[in-house]
């Protein structure tokens, strides 16, 4: 558990009041600036709070790790107040993920190991593809983003200056093979949410606009966050997320002190803080790498499959998505723990996160959906 605001560290030179970034002078003059060339790195990666330094929030960390082991489980939905460290955790996780091989110069960072998923440019490329390693992308979908930037659109610069019709990839292209993080999903326009879910489910972004007709791979783990106090999400939207976890501000004093202390230490000296947790981060990375390698060889025994089916039946979840996700998440959890087989125990532990958002509402049942899942698990999986 951490609190947002990594950039709000105090300036540590006592003489300079107030702190100002060096680029401030350029920006302070109001008015216009020419757009930088799109190939310039537009979003330098900000320094990240180490994933292993997060206090508590076990369920959220586990859900993110599971999504990192097996992206096919679908996205992760995080419920909770802003500032409980959701975005920090995702950035921290991406920073410790092993870098991936990608086709050099490809705007979608195509995976050379999966020829079936190559984009049209890489497929048409004659001869061998040049590759390089890049960090796993984490793309923020900022509030107020317009549709053209999300799906990609006509390259304005080239259209205006050269009169050429060219496609400029959007955020979905940048998020390919990585994470797409949306803060406050419930504030996003409905049509944008529908579009995102559609792409997330199919792994392909289809652009049909402004005379362009493009398809490109867009496989990413969708991580959304929201606050249930500010309105509910539509059920059909909830169902698309693989896992749903709840984060809260810790209430016991020692944990709270620990959180504040780590955050403060990080703000005072980010480099030293990251160095102190580098070892722990590396251990998590090793676990992840092993789990990914282990995943294909893990089989789910029939008994576990049957238990998953009975659990979904008892809870009355709609459709097969619940069962499928339950099975996949249990397998990813087993892989993370290095287990030989996917047992009932894995199922029981991951059931709340993978099923709680798929239950039919029963407003008269005061107990929350987590309690209902736990009850069903106790009944169905009882020996």
């Amino acid at each position: 558990m951490i609190v947002n605001g990594s950039t709000r560290a105090m300036s540590r030179e006592p003489a300079r009041v107030p702190p100002l970034a060096p680029e401030a002078d350029a920006i302070r003059a109001p008015g216009r600036t020419t757009v930088p060339r799109p190939d310039a790195e537009p979003h330098p990666a900000p320094p990240t709070f180490p994933f292993s330094a997060i206090v508590g929030q076990d369920e959220m960390r586990q859900a993110l790790l599971i999504a990192a082991v097996d992206p096919s489980v679908g996205g992760v939905l995080v419920f909770g107040d802003r500032g409980t460290g959701k975005s920090t955790a995702i950035r921290g996780l991406a920073a410790l993920l092993p870098p991936m091989r990608a086709v050099a110069g490809c705007p979608y960072a195509c995976d050379p190991a999966r020829p079936g998923d190559l984009c049209h440019r890489c497929r048409d490329h004659a001869g061998g593809l040049e590759t390089h390693t890049v960090p796993v992308p984490v793309v923020d979908l900022p509030l107020g983003a317009t549709e053209d930037r999300v799906v990609g659109a006509l390259d304005l610069e080239r259209a205006l200056t050269q009169g050429q019709k060219a496609f400029e990839p959007g955020l979905l292209a940048r998020a390919n093979r990585g994470f797409l993080y949306i803060d406050e999903v419930n504030l996003l326009d409905d049509h944008l949410v529908d579009l995102l879910l559609d792409v997330a489910a199919s792994g392909v972004n289809t652009v049909e606009r402004e005379g362009l007709s493009i398809r490109h791979p867009a496989r990413f783990v969708l991580v959304g966050s929201g606050n249930p106090e500010e309105g509910e999400l539509r059920p059909q939207l909830l169902d698309r997320f693989g896992l749903a976890v709840e984060v809260t501000t810790p209430t016991d004093l020692p944990t709270r002190i620990d959180v504040v202390r780590r955050r403060d230490a990080y703000e005072r000296d980010p480099a030293a803080f990251r160095a102190a947790y580098a070892e722990a981060d590396r251990a998590i990375r090793d676990t992840l790498t092993q789990a990914r390698a282990h995943l294909p060889s893990l089989t789910v025994p029939d008994a576990t499959l049957e238990a998953a089916a009975r659990l979904c039946l008892a809870l009355g979840t709609d459709g097969l998505r619940g069962e499928l996700t339950l099975m996949r998440t249990a397998r990813a959890l087993a892989a993370l723990e290095g287990a030989e087989t996917v047992g009932l125990d894995h199922l029981a532990r991951i059931a709340p996160a993978s099923l709680r958002h798929r239950l039919r509402r029963n407003p008269l049942d005061e107990s929350g959906s987590t309690a209902r899942v736990t009850r069903a698990v106790a009944e169905v999986l009882a020996p």
């Binding site: 609190v3 947002n4 605001g5 709000r8 105090m10 300036s11 006592p14 009041v17 107030p18 702190p19 100002l20 970034a21 401030a24 920006i27 302070r28 109001p30 216009r32 600036t33 757009v35 537009p42 979003h43 330098p44 900000p46 107040d81 500032g83 923020d140 900022p142 509030l143 107020g144 983003a145 317009t146 930037r149 006509l154 390259d155 304005l156 259209a159 205006l160 200056t161 009169g163 019709k165 959007g170 955020l171 803060d183 504030l187 326009d189 249930p228 106090e229 500010e230 309105g231 509910e232 539509r234 501000t249 709270r256 002190i257 504040v260 202390r261 955050r263 509402r361 407003p363 008269l364």
Partner: protein, 563 residues
Amino acid sequence: MTAWADALLVARLAAADPHGTGGVVVRAGAGPVREAWLAALRNALPAALPIRRMPGSITDARLLGGLDLPATLAAGRPVAETGLLAETHGGLLVVPMAERLSPGHAAHLAAVLDAGAVRVERDGLGRCCPARLGVILLDEGQGDEAVPEALCDRLAFRIDLTDIPWRDAVPLEDPCVADPGPPDADALAALCRAADALGIASLRGPLLAARVARLLARLAGRDAPGEHDTVLAARLVLGPRATRMPEPVPEADAPETDPDAAPEPESGAGQDDQNPAPLDERMIEAVRSALAPGLLAGLLAAGARPRQPQAGKAGAPAASPRAGRPMGARAGDPRHGRLALVETLRAAAPWQRLRQGAGESRRIRIRPQDLRVTRFVQRTQTTTIFAVDASGSAALERLAEAKGAVELLLSEAYIRRDRVAVLAFRGMGAEVILPPTRALARARRGLSALPGGGGTPLAAGLDAAAELARTVRRGGGTPVVVVLTDGRANVARSGPAGRAQAGADALSAAAGLRADGVRTILIDTAARPQDTARRLAEAMGGRYLPLPYADAGAMSAAIRAAT
């Protein structure tokens, strides 16, 4: 230290590090005191740094930045426009009437406070501009209006200028802390304990207090904060966030803690060495002494303070003013909507060179696919207003059924994105228990607190329902009023008990609902349905549903069928 001196100190701190402190929530009406405070703030901010105002009607394009259309057309290449947030980099953004801030704008501000930069992905541009700014929220809210809590939580300070006489609002000398006291090794833990004791759930409180303590030390030219800095920071930052006040510690109170807790350190240092009270207790003591006695009583009574931190407050008042606002544009036919001229030009702009071909002319060529129409958020959203008779005559179990029906309807409503509001009338008047909402969690909390018993002020209840219906309609929604009552009014509009007058008043209130043209349903909850309720339903021009033995499910089914 007086409240005004505190306010000036807060201005100095916020100006010294706008982004680090996040800013200030200023609760004050417009007037000379607020102007004097803002002038002090401007004076404290170095002249080179901007201080800008954000009008409530600002568009996303202006706030975040986007494509500068005239410049783009003139230059023949895309020209970006810097938004207000990026222009305020390093300085302070003043938000007047912050209680009316839309959730979207509040989220933009919160994101900028978190990231220190503004990310723009609009109009074919993707940029990231530094925007390390502080926010000054001017809160003039009355009654139910409140500044979004998620945003307030990110700002270190909250000050209240409402009770400061304008004669006092004069510039003061900077208070100088002569003796900072010894640095405390574990100030962070003490701040956490103090925050915990004061009932502050968010961890931003102690973190911001620690920052402010360091800032205080830095302003005084010291390297590390002394414990007086920490105590002062706790008072300024944690004090206004407190939701409860711990009991004074019995054995160690008056002689030891008071001199330490006083903000002016004159004699406190000497006594510290022998047997100092723990730092967190002195912080709490400082917070306690800073709060006016009346304020403390209000705090303990819980709810008297207008900006009481309560989750979910933000949604209700902000939802209605949003309606009817333009929400960007989509491709479409202007015959079925309003033409968005600028968006149309923007869509057509890139193609001009391609379309112009050989015969060079300066006319802009617009094709049908360029046409854009403005979208508005105003959806025909139904708000079902339940006016629930919670009096003694409506038996308590009927109340439970009504609650159940409301929750069932709400679970339907959230699939259709409709809203539900609940008001109850009992005793002397009516009260809105659940402002129009879509949030199931909040509704359940509001309903569980619904009390019962007392007289039946039916007229007051109907008046309140009509008022709420008008509010909903102003916000662009369609109200449906569902009255659950047995129709036996016995409290008149003006207050006195009396069946005859109360009945007449109820009928005239019902006529008011009819005059407003609100769709109404009256559910007679009496065990033996009577004529009074039927006449009432006729007077309000609504449907009459006698449901003597209905349970929650049947009731909600009947309402669904009727609406």
